[in-house]
């Protein structure tokens, strides 16, 4: 794989779930959450490790909440790990 490894971080609290980054990502690396942030919006999350750091998502993100990283020539390879954030909703009455 000659592809450069990349990564994005997303400040999900400021994300408005517009879905534009998801559609713009050539690697299908982004998805919208079904849960909502405190503003009431779903938000974008990075869902796989095929990101190349192409910056497309960041360029179209209206909220400028995406920061893009890329493996530098001299930098060690990034170690990626999966983290699951489950949000559980209780009914209270």
């Amino acid at each position: 794989m000659a592809k450069i490894k990349g990564h994005v971080t997303i400040r999900t609290e400021n994300c408005k779930g517009c879905d534009l980054c998801v559609h713009e990502c050539p690697q299908d690396s982004l998805q919208l959450s079904t849960a909502l942030n405190t503003s009431g919006y779903p938000y974008a999350v990075l869902v796989n490790d095929t990101c190349t750091g192409c910056t497309n998502c960041a360029l179209v993100c209206p909220e400028a909440v995406i920061t893009v990283f890329r493996e530098g020539k001299k930098k060690p390879i990034a170690i990626l790990s999966h983290v699951t954030e489950n949000i559980t909703v209780d009914i209270t009455s």
């Binding site: 849960a35 960041a58 360029l59 909220e63 699951t84 954030e85 909703v89």
Partner: protein, 266 residues
């Protein structure tokens, strides 16, 4: 009844600090939640301008003018001196500033209702005088701020809250191509039409913005006019993704992207 909503797995990177940060928000873009609707191109246009100001290192000398319109709060996001202008009068305000502070970089940031309807006279005369300023013209074909009324730029047949059966050119006139119209004025120095709906268009729009500001700094004489054809998901009653698709499918046929007038030497 408890049905947990499962998040998609969010990939995290453990050695992020060892990677190059290749893109992040410009420093002069104030870190504050934007008030725009989800997916609105205004936010991207804001960012482009602040990137430009960062790159040209002109934060200290730039004065922005934003009139009323969805972008009326531009000064909440742009960390520069700014004046909020009355509807339609941004270029008059900018003229006032530039005339008394000719060494400052002055730009306006205007919607299509603002620049092409109520502000038509100011737009034309400012450019006709060749005021050495930059006009950023965000054309979303609608009055976003006031809830989606028809603008002079609205396409024929397009339904808005004041053209319930679609714009009827017979009674409501034709969409005004401001960029083309003002490009015939000798005072127009650089006129271009851009978009910010895709990564590719954003890259191009950024270059155009850089050029426009650079021309002003060079004092080449004349107004630089950067039209950004944009979306208004709320006013158009579309999702952001649909609205951007609509730009590609319908709008750019009418509002062709690209440079309309280049400076003499180029």
């Amino acid at each position: 009844m408890t049905e947990p909503l499962i998040e998609p797995q969010h990939i995290q990177c453990e050695n992020l600090d060892q990677m190059d940060q290749v893109w992040t928000r410009p420093e002069t873009l104030i870190d504050r939640k934007l008030h725009y609707c989800p997916g609105c191109g205004h936010s991207v246009a804001h960012r482009l301008i602040m990137e430009t100001i960062d790159e040209l290192n002109i934060q200290e000398t730039t004065i922005g003018v934003a009139p009323v319109g969805c972008s009326v709060f531009a000064y909440h996001y742009m960390d520069i001196d700014m004046q909020e202008a009355a509807h339609g009068r941004a270029t008059a305000v900018a003229t006032g500033i530039k005339r008394v502070l000719p060494d400052r970089i002055v730009f306006t940031y205007q919607g299509d209702g603002d620049l092409a309807a109520i502000g038509t006279a100011e737009t034309i005369h400012t450019i006709n005088r060749g005021e050495n300023i930059v006009i950023i013209f965000v054309n979303n074909g609608i009055y976003g701020m006031t809830g989606g009324q028809m603008a002079p730029t609205t396409l024929p047949g397009f339904v808005t809250s004041t053209s319930p059966n679609g714009r009827d050119t017979h009674t409501m006139g034709y969409p005004l191509k401001m960029a083309e119209m003002i490009s015939v004025l000798p005072g127009a120095y650089y006129v271009t039409r851009q978009a910010v709906h895709s990564a590719k268009s954003v890259r191009k729009a950024k270059k155009a913005t850089l050029k426009a500001f650079q021309y002003q700094m060079d004092g080449k004489g004349g107004t630089s006019f950067v039209e950004i054809v944009s979306n208004c998901p709320s006013g158009w009653k579309m999702t952001p993704v649909e609205s951007n698709q609509y730009l590609d499918d319908e709008i750019f046929d009418f509002y062709t992207l690209g440079d309309i007038k280049l400076p003499p030497k180029e």
